[in-house]
């Protein structure tokens, strides 16, 4: 059968073939022609073929012309002496099988349109197969879902080769359905386990795909009605696992634990940790199982430790986790870079939360205050404007720490008793010291910082200053604020006349730089 070139021709030809196959069983061999087009080079032709396949097998599934039950191998069946009808069904089932495996391969096709169409077709097959199952139920009312086909779909999505984020976004539409979500979780954990066991070094693309898929799964918060099924069942039963949120949670937990037990790339670590506290932890069946992951993340250091704190705090706060070195770890996290990292606002928000308890020992709070003020010596003004009220709040909450700013009749010292190198806040001797750093910052060049630091000169006022609006302060905002400030009626001017660009000869600019 000769084919006209081009998508149009292909469409017409495929249309004829489809008609023929559906009309009479004697034309069944035309299926091979259809399947052959699936391997074409032209994406448009492939699309036509996928359309045809979808219609063909959709119709066959609905008609029940595919073999149901354990599929015997093709050769034996064709050789054996079965009825023609049975032979036909088995043969057709084999064709269906090869078609879906072809489609699974096509999920890796470079053209997005093809991929999208293939995904849609496969999901249609999943739906039809769910309604007309190809296995015999072992008992009355058994829950049947085309697991094998669906696993192939998810496996195709989580390819280690290329980034499927767009396709995954498409797939997210199906995650609205409870059964699809349930099986996706199962299939995803299987896929992750499979890929990581096969490849010693897993590509970044796979992790990204997996994370995109995993983070797209969001469980309902309440067990209202798990009945929004993609595969419509005639009589849904309470006995099925799919209908219980508890089972969903278990699978969810298994999926995440399976994912997180592997060594993830650093960027992914951050992403996971950022979403940990509000998308993952509340849905786990046993949140305490996350503790291994979180503690190991906390030991990584830097920004990742900062982010792990949040999850850890939730575990300590809500799930009775005993974590003895928590404050020591937090103390260890304070280094000069915290004022410059991207997660500064989040960190200080959490730190404010952690240190808000009034039952903390005074030595601990004093150590934090001292450490923070020591670090403030290297901070930019936007951070200073936030951290100075923060320190003052600490002193307000813990009156025992007020000696840091008010120590009447104290001895004069030769050196600061505080030991910045000491990792244990208990041994840092912060309570014996004073916040001279704040006194230094009263000399800061920015007027507002200087003013904020001068607060300690007076006895601290009772109400705390809310740090929240200051957390996200940026230098640009400060700059704009300074610019917009009300001008005095006359702008003060320099009264020493300028002499050239670099100023007077004895000025440092003129000494260190020349114009030419």
């Amino acid at each position: 059968m000769e084919r006209e070139p081009g998508a149009e021709g292909a469409r017409r030809a495929l249309g004829h073939l489809l008609q023929a196959v559906l009309a009479s069983r004697s034309e069944a061999n035309a299926v091979f022609d259809i399947l052959a087009v699936l391997q074409s080079e032209d994406p448009e032709e492939i699309q036509e073929a996928v359309h045809t396949c979808s219609r063909l097998f959709g119709a066959l599934l609905e008609r029940g012309e595919l073999f149901v039950g354990q599929l015997p191998p093709e050769d034996t069946v064709l050789a054996g002496s079965h009825g023609a009808m049975r032979k036909y069904k088995i043969w057709m089932r084999h064709r269906y099988h090869s078609c879906s495996s072809h489609l699974g391969e096509l999920l890796a096709h470079p053209t997005f349109k093809v991929k999208e169409l293939v995904l849609k077709t496969l999901m249609k097959f999943v739906q039809l197969e769910g309604v007309h199952p190809l296995e015999k139920p072992k008992w009355e009312g058994q829950y049947l879902f085309p697991r094998k086909l669906f696993r192939a779909v998810v496996g195709g999505l989580l390819s280690p080769e290329q980034d499927h984020s767009l396709l995954l976004n498409q797939f997210c539409e199906y995650l609205e359905f409870d059964d699809i979500r349930y099986h996706t979780m199962q299939a995803a954990s299987d896929a992750v386990a499979q890929v990581t066991s096969q490849h010693p070094k897993v590509s970044l693309a796979f992790w990204n795909n997996a994370f995109t898929l995993l983070s797209a799964v969001s469980l309902p918060h309440q067990e209202r009605d798990i009945s929004n099924f993609y595969v419509k069942h005639v009589e849904p039963s309470d006995m099925w696992k799919v209908t219980h949120l508890k089972e969903h949670r278990k699978t969810f937990q298994a999926m995440w634990l399976g994912f997180l037990k592997h060594k993830l790339p650093l960027s992914l670590y951050k992403k996971v940790l950022v979403t940990m506290h509000d998308t993952i932890l509340p849905h786990l069946a046993q949140p305490t199982l996350m503790i291994d992951f979180l503690t190991s993340a906390c030991d990584v250091g830097g920004a990742i430790s900062l982010l792990a704190l949040n999850g850890l705090f939730i575990l300590i706060h809500q799930h009775n986790l005993e974590y003895p070195d928590f404050y020591q770890k937090l103390y260890g996290l304070l280094d000069p870079s915290i004022f410059h990292v991207k997660y500064r606002a989040r960190f200080f928000h959490l730190a404010d939360l952690f240190l808000s308890s009034s039952h903390l020992p005074a030595y601990l709070v004093a150590a934090f205050a001292k450490r923070l003020s020591r670090l403030a010596l290297t901070a930019p003004p936007e951070a200073l404007l936030m951290v100075l009220p923060f320190i003052c709040n600490l002193l307000r909450r813990h009156p025992a720490c007020r000696v840091l700013v008010h120590r009447p009749r104290g001895p004069e010292l030769d050196a600061d008793p505080y030991d910045p190198e000491e990792e244990d806040p208990a041994k840092s001797r912060a309570l014996e010291s004073c916040l001279w750093e704040l006194q230094t910052l009263q000399q800061h060049y920015h007027p507002e910082v200087s003013r904020a630091a001068s607060v300690i000169n007076q006895p601290l006022s009772v109400p705390e200053v809310s740090v929240t609006p200051l957390l996200g302060l940026t230098a640009y905002e400060i700059f704009e604020r300074d610019l917009k400030k009300q001008l005095p009626e006359s702008v003060p001017l320099e009264f020493i006349p300028a002499q050239g660009l670099l100023g007077q000869r004895e000025g440092i600019c003129a000494q260190l730089f020349t114009l030419s």
Partner: protein, 855 residues
């Protein structure tokens, strides 16, 4: 009551001697609870009987009358003059009424009654005129004819006396044909008309004569009496300026030699200048401490206050301000001078263009003295510095100087040569493009001259719009500077001269606006980059130049300044957000550090970013990094591509390096050709960093946590020293820094809060409040008080009205009652009378009957 009354009367007795009836039994005393000194009471004594009587009288006069007339529809109104006024005696009334009657008699009754003002005439003349006796004509007219009509007239008018007519006409008929009746009448009319005309003429003459006589009389009258009407005389009696007076006045107005201030000696001038600078410096210090807003007048005034306005600790110093470009400081020498120069300039402008040439020389002279600008003096100063820098070979500099000849000596000459080609009058450019086209292609001096001339020709005192134009010019020039700085190679010499100090002094507000504008631009660019990439590149040379210019134009030591504070934030951003990726970045960063230090050189404020950056520079110059990566702060990384950017490993280059200042143009993106040169730049950068560090150490030595600040620096420097790979000069430098740090011993004094002022006890000094009205609630706003006052007044008036109405009703009821009683009594009386008469009638009748009966 019995006790109070005598006291009240006694008190009242001397006060009211004028009272007609001081009958103690009619007086009611309103007793006061407390005696309050100084309060004037109006109603301490009342006369209830009197006031009641007055009220009753009033009611009978008004209310009762109304009541009686209640059923009557017509009203009797007595309109006689003064009938009801009691202050006129009957005689007076009569007199007035009579006068009114007379007046009314004379008045015109009605405008339609034409007869009213008909003039009475006699012989066709007004009787009024006749009465005046000024009709001369009449008096002299033929008297014999008076009283009788002429025969002709009668004949003509009345047609009677035909005989006479006949007789008369007969002789006429003899001469010519007899005239018809019509002709006769016409003749008559013409005659009478002529007569009339003559009479009129005569009368006019007479009138004229009388007037003349009157005038004469008046003249004589003025001579006779002193009651001259002044209005007429004032004009006439304008005194002619007397020669003597004139001389006296002139002498009075003549300039006298006044004692003037003597010329000040050099020393005094210097002293004054010093005084002025001292004052400005004091201002600056005050602003540096940020105490502007904190001066408050003490609120509480003690009882011992003398109210002479003297308050201790008040700061008498005044804010430095500029008005129209002139400093506004009292006793300011500079102000006078600049004013003088201003006026001189104006005059010179008026002189015209022909001697503009000459003026150029003068201008430069003036600027030396009064206005501070790049006069030749400062120019030569800069040129010499340029010369020193010239030793490093710079091709583009020679390019610039090629037309100038030798740069130092012939400065004036080139100046003049350039000015010969330039036009003398420039309009202020309206756009930046215009300015650029004006300045492009000219040499440095010419550009300067052009800008200078633009300013001179459009001085704000010359025309109204010039101020706005020059304000715009500042912005354009700033843009031009930025443009020059970004050009390749950067044209820094022009910028050096174009510092814009003068324009800024003239228009501080707009200048600060434009500087803020360019800074905002730069910051915005950086912020965008940070948003998209998370970090920013070092800004171009133009931004650095802007920052420098901002530092030159505005006082950098202020606690808060509208331009300088944003500039500081901008520099901090540059130092924290821009990672150092190349040698250019190092040079730029070091320049920003230098600027930062320059900004705070007077106020000695603490800059964490600066210390961080220098630490980073030292780190990337350190040879081996085994430790201490953790103390590094943001833009620098402990490991990575650029962590050894400033490391020099070549021994030869180290040996050949000479210390010098860092040329700014390295900051712009030109590639450094050889590795040796690059190494030299590295070492120069390190030298600059060390120099800056030394200054920092000196400056921050007194800060309480100095050692905490410099500890990481100290460690790194020690490492540097241990390595000994640097040239000896640098090693010396770092050694001296280390010793400086070591020597800076300090005591840690425990912090103590300032003692808060104890809450003051309540004092006995009374709180003085303005009392507006006694018995009123105080302490609210004026509107509120007014409202309350009105409400209260309304209430009182309302009550009063109610009381009045009640009393009216009582009065009426009383009246009605008395009426009824009267009526009843009358009736009773009448009934009685009737009964009486009936009884007598009956009696009589019975008696009669009895009589009859007896009979």
């Amino acid at each position: 009551m019995g006790k109070a009354r005598p006291a009240g009367t006694r008190r009242q007795a001397p006060r009211a001697p004028a009272k007609i009836n001081p009958n103690p039994f009619e007086v009611k005393v309103n007793r006061q609870k407390f005696q309050i000194l100084g309060r004037k009471t109006r109603h301490d004594v009342g006369l209830p009987g009197v006031s009641r009587a007055r009220a009753i009288r009033k009611r009978t006069q008004t209310l009762l009358k109304e009541y009686k007339e209640r059923d009557k529809s017509n009203v009797f109104k007595d309109k006689r003059l003064g009938e009801y006024s009691s202050d006129m005696s009957p005689e007076e009334k009569m007199m007035k009424r009579f006068a009114l009657e007379q007046q009314r008699h004379h008045e015109k009754k009605s405008i339609y009654n034409l007869n009213e003002d008909e003039e009475l005439t006699h012989y066709g003349q007004s009787l009024a005129d006749i009465e005046k006796h000024n009709d001369i004509v009449d008096s002299d007219s033929d008297t014999e004819e008076r009283g009788a009509l002429s025969a002709e007239l009668t004949a003509a008018h009345f047609g009677g006396g035909g005989g006479i007519l006949q007789k008369k006409t007969a002789p006429q008929e003899e001469g010519d044909k007899p005239k018809s009746r019509k002709e006769l009448i016409e003749e008559l009319i013409a005659k009478s008309k002529q007569e009339k005309r003559e009479r009129q003429a005569q009368r006019e003459d007479a009138l004229e004569l009388t007037e003349k006589l009157d005038q004469d009389w008046k003249e004589i009258q003025t001579l006779l009496s002193h009651k001259t009407p002044k209005a007429e005389n004032r004009e006439k009696e304008k005194p002619k300026p007397d020669a003597y007076d004139m001389v006296v006045r002139e002498l009075g107005f003549e300039m006298k030699a006044k004692p003037s201030n003597r010329m000040k000696t050099e020393a005094e001038l210097a002293k004054e200048e010093q005084e002025r600078l001292r004052k400005l410096e004091a201002e600056r210090l005050r602003r540096m401490l940020g105490k502007d807003g904190e001066e408050k007048e003490p609120k509480h005034v003690s009882a011992d206050d003398l109210h002479d306005g003297f308050i201790l600790d008040r700061d008498d110093r005044r804010l430095l301000s500029y008005k129209d470009g002139k400093m506004n400081v009292e006793g300011d020498v500079g102000e006078e001078q600049s004013e003088e120069t201003g006026s001189q300039e104006n005059q010179e402008e008026e002189r015209g263009e022909d001697d503009e040439e000459e003026e150029d020389g003068e201008e430069s002279g003036e600027e030396e003295g009064g206005e501070e600008s790049a006069g030749p003096d400062s120019r030569s100063d800069l040129d010499s510095s340029a010369e020193s820098a010239e030793e490093g070979d710079e091709p583009e500099q020679e390019q610039h100087q090629a037309p100038c000849g030798s740069p130092t000596g012939d400065n004036q000459k080139t100046h003049r040569a350039g000015s010969q080609e330039l036009p003398y009058v420039f309009t202020v450019p309206e756009s930046y493009e215009e300015l650029r086209s004006l300045l492009s292609g000219r040499s440095v001096d010419e550009q300067l001259l052009v800008v200078e001339r633009i300013q001179k020709c459009n001085h704000p005192s010359l025309a109204v719009g010039n101020k706005a134009k020059l304000e715009k010019l500042f912005g354009f020039l700033l843009e031009y500077v930025g443009d020059r700085a970004t050009s390749d190679p950067p044209d820094l010499k022009v910028i050096d001269k174009l510092v814009l100090y003068n324009l800024c002094q003239m228009f501080p507000k707009s200048a600060s606006g434009s500087v803020k504008f360019v800074l905002r631009d730069a910051m915005h660019e950086m912020e965008e980059m940070i948003e998209t990439k998370g970090r920013a590149a070092f800004p171009g040379l133009d931004v650095l130049i802007y920052l420098k210019i901002a530092g030159l134009l505005f006082p950098t030591s202020d606690f808060w300044h509208p331009v300088v504070t944003p500039a500081l934030v901008c520099m901090s951003q540059i130092l924290t957000k821009c990672p150092v990726l190349s040698l250019h970045d190092v040079v730029k960063g070091l320049f920003v550090c230098c600027l930062f230090l320059d900004y705070v050189s007077l106020s000695r404020r603490f800059i964490p970013e600066l210390v961080n950056f220098l630490l980073g520079i030292l780190y990337i110059a350190a040879p081996n990094k085994q430790s201490r990566g953790s103390t590094l702060v943001h833009p620098f990384r402990a490991f990575g591509k650029n962590s050894e950017l400033l490391l020099v490993s070549d021994k030869d280059d180290v040996a050949t390096w000479q210390r010098g200042s860092l040329p700014l143009h390295w900051a712009s993106g030109r590639n450094i050709p050889t590795t040796a040169e690059a190494n030299h730049i590295r070492l120069s950068c390190l030298a600059v960093a060390l120099a800056l560090l030394k200054r920092c150490v000196v400056m921050y030595g007194t800060l309480p946590s100095f050692h905490a600040i410099v500890r990481p620096l100290q460690a790194l420097l020690a490492e540097h020293q241990a390595e000994r790979s640097h040239p000896p000069e640098l090693q010396e430098l770092s050694q001296s820094i280390l010793t400086d740090v070591e020597n800076q011993k300090q005591l840690y004094r425990p912090l103590i809060c300032e003692k808060s002022k104890p809450v003051p006890l309540k004092l006995f000094t009374p709180r003085l409040v303005k009392v507006l009205e006694f018995g009123r609630k105080q302490g609210s706003t004026k509107e509120e008080q007014e409202r309350k006052r009105l409400i209260h007044k309304h209430k009182r008036e309302f009550k009063g009205a109610v009381r009045e109405i009640r009393k009216d009703n009582q009065f009426l009821a009383r009246m009605q009652l008395s009426e009824i009683m009267e009526r009843d009594a009358e009736r009773k009386r009448k009934v009685k009378q009737l009964f009486n008469s009936l009884a007598t009638q009956e009696g009589e009748w019975k008696a009669l009957k009895r009589k009859k009966f007896k009979k």
